[in-house]
Symmetry: C2
Subunit: 256 residues, 2 copies
């Protein structure tokens, strides 16, 4: 039974897509079958992994609103054991269209039900908001992985995020847990990074991964080549840290 | 008659709040009366300028959904000629609540009507999405200022942004124009920045400001002190570039 992990944080630009894509690719390299779900109308995970958003016939939009079976929309990527459920701008309308639909928060959960038998892990890249799309992802997920950028505004949004997590756990998905907190764009030279990490540690304790992802230009270059950084430049510090994080994630999951 | 400028880009983390706040503060220092509207449920502009989001009695939410007059919610900041229409988490529900309301895209425009007589400039900080909140901002605005981060994913969202601009101009606000494009977090050392700027120039030509905002740690530290960077460290390169950008903006506006 595949585990569903929603990568979420309503703060924009904290590394949700970069983490979803590189984490999914690193998991797939360990011979586990992985589905990456691009659940953001921007479609950054779709293009970051090498697809042209203009060419897509079916997307995740069709799977949650047009009754399309998920495997009709799923694409095989060039990377071993890694498939993608793509997204494009059609998903923008979904937030408003879902408002009048029955069980509107459970559409993604229903769409992914069959996928859990086929994949070991399903990683969902969420948009930067707490609207119906993110609620759908939190309802479909077993756990949430929270990337936090080492910046001041990143701390601001944490209490909102935790409130939403508690509400979803109470009303929509009682088994939802926090997978962990991943610090991103860590800059060893700057004090702001250090003070944000200290603050987050006070909040989350040992839910924070020991591995932190440093700011690394290879990470931000890799999507322009349509490749996860571990395929773009395996020796880069960005690539090493995502591989190390994935190892730490698997270790935590084996213990349970 | 005050000019209303919406600072918008659905891509997250590109510098919308940082630009709204520092641009508004720089305009206010030229003795013009400025209202900064925080139209993001995250409330980053509200805390970045020194207010505690937990203490607010009225916010922009009340002005668009509860019929509160804007001046009942407006706060005077510590910075000369600069007022704030604050926001907090209450605004999160607005996207769903607005769906059933008549003239749902025009609520902010109506709320700000009287404000245009009192302020020379009204700067609206938008959330990272293209939902009803951003549509309200685009309907209320005279022009849109688009911050673009010098990163690959930043190029991705431009066509979506321009499509939305055209739709709003056609159906909701015929006088809406593009004020300009501001490149943010420019890193002179990295080739990615250079190639993104070249690409954006092809798209937008002379709509791009000559002034670019470099990545500068003082900019990201200033919100933790509740101050715009021009008040936190006037000699920093971040502060200089926001002052220079504001001068360039005013020059363009005088020519017309
Ligand atoms: N470790 C890193 N080093 C350098 N750049 C990074 C790193 N992680 C992410 N980036 C860059 O920072 C920007 C923001 O990251 P990303 O788009 O993954 O964030 P996001 O949270 O998915 O954004 P959104 O809120 O728009 O969905 C991107 O341009 C990305 O390439
Ligand atoms: N010129 C700069 N130099 C260094 N850091 C910057 C600069 N501009 C913005 N930042 C930092 O980058 C992060 C993103 O900026 P900001 O929050 O203003 O973007 P945004 O577009 O408003 O994000 P959101 O999409 O969440 O609303 C913040 O932590 C901010 O402090
Ligand atoms: Mg993203
Ligand atoms: Mg913002």
């Amino acid at each position: 039974m595949g585990k569903v992990i929603a990568v979420t944080n309503q703060k924009g630009g904290v590394g949700k897509t970069t983490t979803s894509l590189n984490f999914a690719a690193a998991l797939a390299r360990t011979k586990r079958k992985v589905l990456l779900v691009d659940f953001d109308p921007q479609g950054n995970a779709t293009s970051g992994i090498g697809f042209d958003k203009g060419d897509l016939e079916q997307t995740v939009y069709d799977a949650i609103l047009n009754g399309t079976h998920f495997h009709e929309a799923v694409l095989e990527t060039k990377f071993e054991n890694l498939d993608l459920l793509p997204s494009n701008v059609n998903l923008t309308g979904a937030e408003i269209e879902l408002v009048g639909v029955p069980k509107r928060e459970q559409r993604l959960k229903t769409a992914l039900k069959k996928a859990k038998d086929k994949y070991d892990f399903i990683v969902i890249d969420c948009p930067p908001s707490m609207g119906l799309l993110t609620l759908n992802a939190l309802t479909a997920a077993d756990t949430i992985l929270i990337p936090i950028q080492c910046e001041y505004y990143a701390l601001e949004g944490l209490s909102q995020l935790l409130n939403t997590f508690e509400l979803v756990k109470k009303n929509l998905n009682t088994k939802l847990e926090i997978e962990g907190i991943l610090m991103t764009m860590w800059d060893v030279r700057n004090n702001l990074s250090k003070s944000v990490v200290e603050e987050v540690k006070k909040y989350f304790g040992d839910k924070i991964y020991k591995t932190m992802i440093p700011r690394n230009v290879k990470v931000s270059e890799s999507p322009s080549f349509g490749k996860p950084v571990i395929y773009y430049d395996i020796r880069s510090v960005g690539s090493e840290s995502y591989l190390l994080f994935t190892k730490e994630f698997l270790k935590r999951n084996q213990k349970k």
